[in-house]
Amino acid sequence: MGRLLGVLIGIITGVSVYLFTGRMGWFPEQISEYAPAIDQQFMRTLIVVGIAFVSAQIMLGYFVWRYRDRGRGEVVYTHGSTKLEVGLLILTTTVFVTLAVMGQKVWAQLHLQEVPADALQVEITGQQFAWNIRYPGPDGRFGRTESRLIDDQTNPVGMDPKDPASGDDIVSINRLAVPVGREVRLTLRSKDVTHSFFVPVLRIKQDTVPGMAIPLHFKAVKTGEYEIACAELCGLEHYKMKGYLMVMPQEAFEAWLKERATR
């Protein structure tokens, strides 16, 4: 029985390691400035976790094989070792805290760093079950919105036509076009329940919370069309709440905006 369990734990350990490392391509493609750093931190953590996982499981598997009851011999009568406990305490505290501190670097860049003044401003308003994307237009200012003006068909974010700043605002549903290589500053809102703006290829996720305007910024470095998902349960069609991130060359982006503006 001990040998069977020992071997089984060994096999499970092997399969787990293979599953996590045998193929490195589990992550989706990465196209943002910060994504490589996040993936690196993941790999660092994977190494630490991998070492701890393999040594603990193999020790467990080996001990159940080696110390199965064979009907003879004495057990090692011991109540433990303070020295070992303290050693482990120091080792694990050092490793875990170091890991946690290293993990803050990208976080700090993403959330605590100033966004360049020339960043492209975009407002994203989540709703059941779509993303409303608004650009400020040539004046660079978002017009005033009011919830009582909201109409899902004609005015999804409730723009006030009386505000001169809102005249040139451009609203697009589910399509977020951005120029490649330029910093984008998002303001995330929601008009009904909590959603979560999740772009796997950018490695960013941020809840859109009703009543809050949450800033987020990114820089996409590769053109193409990518999917935007909702990562916070928001109701019946949560699984269908899909948008597209379209990363374009600057000229194509300007043409796209212009084309939108004339609608």
């Binding site: 008009k191 009904d192 699984y239």
Partner: protein, 586 residues
């Protein structure tokens, strides 16, 4: 040390109702809790099988299931609202009525008083009340499945404002959600009463010689868990009441102004969705430890018993249990890194979270140290305790990913999280419950369970749970958000579909293996061979009394304790174990 309680605090009841229904006996109440959890785990598992079918084959029609659940399968395949209500109810029933109930209220009620040498809990009437409140709570919860609109679709976390707005936000968010909140509030009250009882009993009713450092580690975990419950359930209770007021009383604790839901303006203003998350997770994170700590206690007790060695590092274990319990109150924010929480708070929560890995590592190290140099007896309970260690390691280590702010940007609310918490607070805790069941069944019911079936049950379940929960991590790395009724709407998720099918098949096989357990359990209940007083040659006090113990546990006499709880393989002793009550020089 306080006064020892009187020998008999209430007489043995004679009528059926006072003996088995409204019983004051902690042992009967423990069994009642255990059966409540057994019924709940059956419901919870059935729900999971249902929603696994949709995940694996989203467009498949199930005519037979359509006959049983005509609304849930309207038009052939399972509807997304039925899927979400199954997910919600699965999570809620498993977390509250299984993982909180069986290890703590079930085993704890039965064995805490006996293991400390007491004749009953400190407050028997309160104990009875706590069970019956929990029973009513479960009834209310299950009734939510049958009301107009169905069970809520807001998940077991019931995030506001989705859970606060009512029917307008989605199906099941009307009466179903209201019943859900009422049930949870009742559950909080039941747990609170139980926690008071556990704490008072442990502090006041220990028998002569049962010093704190002679307590079995099971008692330490039940005691610590009770403290966690005492401090965390009231917060959820308050949150639940506020949520109920938002829904029924027109208040706006969690609903901000200017909301427009399905093109309808909402008349609330001034509330904060994040407030609900803070209240919920202030409870929710300690809850994880409420589920897993008693399993740690059982694993410690069993690994020592079945490797015939003292537990390695008893004091370190006690400190680690307490450290995990207390640190558990300072890390709730790691559920909220991307919720709109201040990024500075997130950093603080992240650092605190990773330090919880330290006492967890110490516990694992001590379990391995206990096995080292032992003579392990591979009984069914021992196998489940060993499985617990393996699953605890696997599930605990992935917490090092999720505890980091930057990695949460990718992994938060994906299947990686599901893999992580199912592995640790789900199946590791369930393995603790199984280990406890095989170990204590002879004491509780006076009969032995079948060992061979128990071993078969272990091996099938052990492989099965890894097959189910390991691939979930990979799906999360691929970016698959949780609570999606199907993965087929997104191109980048196409590669996860084979995983879904594999997991569903593994679920069906693993669930079928649980039939072995159920048959063994009920067969042994009536036909198992008679259990001796101490079948496993254990050392703690419950093994000094008959199986099952009499109404007042120890009769007129008080046990006197002379030894620590895990004296196995003592050099020079007459046998390979020394009972806690053996004379001082044995």
């Amino acid at each position: 040390m306080s006064e020892i309680a009187p020998a008999v605090i209430h007489r043995a009841p004679t009528g059926f109702i006072r003996k088995w229904i409204f019983s004051l006996d902690h042992k009967v109440i423990g069994i009642q809790y255990y059966f409540l959890a057994l019924l709940s785990v059956f419901i919870g598992m059935t729900l999971s099988i249902l929603f696994r079918l949709r995940l694996a084959w989203p467009t498949e029609a199930w005519p037979l299931l359509g006959k049983i659940f005509p609304v849930g399968f309207e038009g052939g395949p399972m509807t997304p609202e039925f899927y979400l209500s199954m997910v919600t109810m699965h999570g809620t029933i498993m977390v509250f009525f299984v993982l909180t109930t069986a290890p703590q209220s079930g085993f704890g009620n039965y064995f805490l008083p006996i293991q400390i040498g007491a004749h009953d809990m400190a407050f028997p009437v309160l104990n009875m009340l706590s069970f019956w409140v929990t029973f009513v709570s479960l009834s209310v919860m299950v009734s939510a499945l049958f009301v107009q609109g169905g069970a809520p679709i807001s998940g077991w976390t019931a995030y506001a404002p989705l859970s606060a707005l009512g029917q307008v936000a989605g199906p099941g968010l009307g009466l179903g959600q209201t019943l859900w909140i009422i049930s949870i509030a009742l559950f909080c009250i039941g747990s609170l009463l139980g926690a008071l009882n556990f704490i008072t009993t442990t502090i006041n009713l220990r028998t002569k010689g049962m010093s704190l450092m002679r307590l079995p580690l099971t008692v330490w975990t039940w005691f610590t868990t009770a403290i966690l419950a005492l401090l965390s359930f009231p917060v959820l209770l308050a949150g639940g009441i506020l949520l109920l007021l938002d829904r029924l009383g027109g208040t706006s604790f969690f609903i901000p102004g200017n909301l427009v839901v399905s093109d309808k303006a909402i008349a609330h203003s001034g509330g904060s969705p994040l407030l609900w998350q803070h209240l919920f997770w202030f409870f929710g994170h300690p809850e994880v430890y409420i589920a897993i700590l008693p399993g740690m206690g059982v694993a410690s007790q069993l690994l020592s018993t079945f490797s015939r060695k003292p537990i390695f590092g008893y004091r370190a274990m006690v400190y680690a249990i307490f450290a995990i319990g207390m640190l558990g109150f300072f890390v709730w924010g790691h559920h909220m890194f991307v919720s709109g929480l201040s990024p500075y708070s997130a950093i603080a929560f992240s650092l605190l979270t990773l330090t919880i890995g330290v006492p967890s590592a110490i516990k694992t190290f001590n379990w391995l140290g206990t096995l080292w140099g032992g003579r392990i007896r591979f009984t069914a309970p021992a196998l489940f305790a060993l499985g617990f260690v393996s699953l605890f390691v696997s599930g605990g280590l992935t917490g090092l990913f999720l505890g980091q702010t930057s990695l949460d940007l990718m992994l938060h609310d994906t299947w990686f999280v599901l893999g992580h918490f199912h592995m640790i607070m789900g199946v590791a805790a369930i393995f603790g419950i199984f280990a406890g069941t095989y170990y204590w069944f002879p004491k509780m019911f006076g009969r032995m369970m079948n060992e061979s079936w128990g071993k078969l049950h272990f091996f099938l379940t052990f492989v099965g749970v890894y097959a189910i929960f390991l691939p979930m991590h990979i799906m999360g790395i691929m970016g698959h958000p949780r609570r999606y009724a199907q993965a087929t709407e997104f191109k980048y998720l196409a590669a996860t579909q084979p995983f879904h099918q594999f997991i569903t098949i593994a679920t069906l096989i693993t669930a079928a293996a649980q039939v072995i357990f159920m048959v063994n359990f009920f067969w042994s209940l009536f036909k198992g061979s008679k259990a001796p007083e101490n079948p496993w040659e254990s050392t703690t006090l419950e093994w000094t009394v008959p199986s099952p113990p009499p109404h007042d546990n120890f009769g007129e006499k008080h046990p006197v304790v002379h030894h620590g709880p895990y004296e196995y393989g003592v050099p020079g002793a007459s046998k390979d174990y020394v009972m806690q009550t053996d004379s001082p020089n044995s």
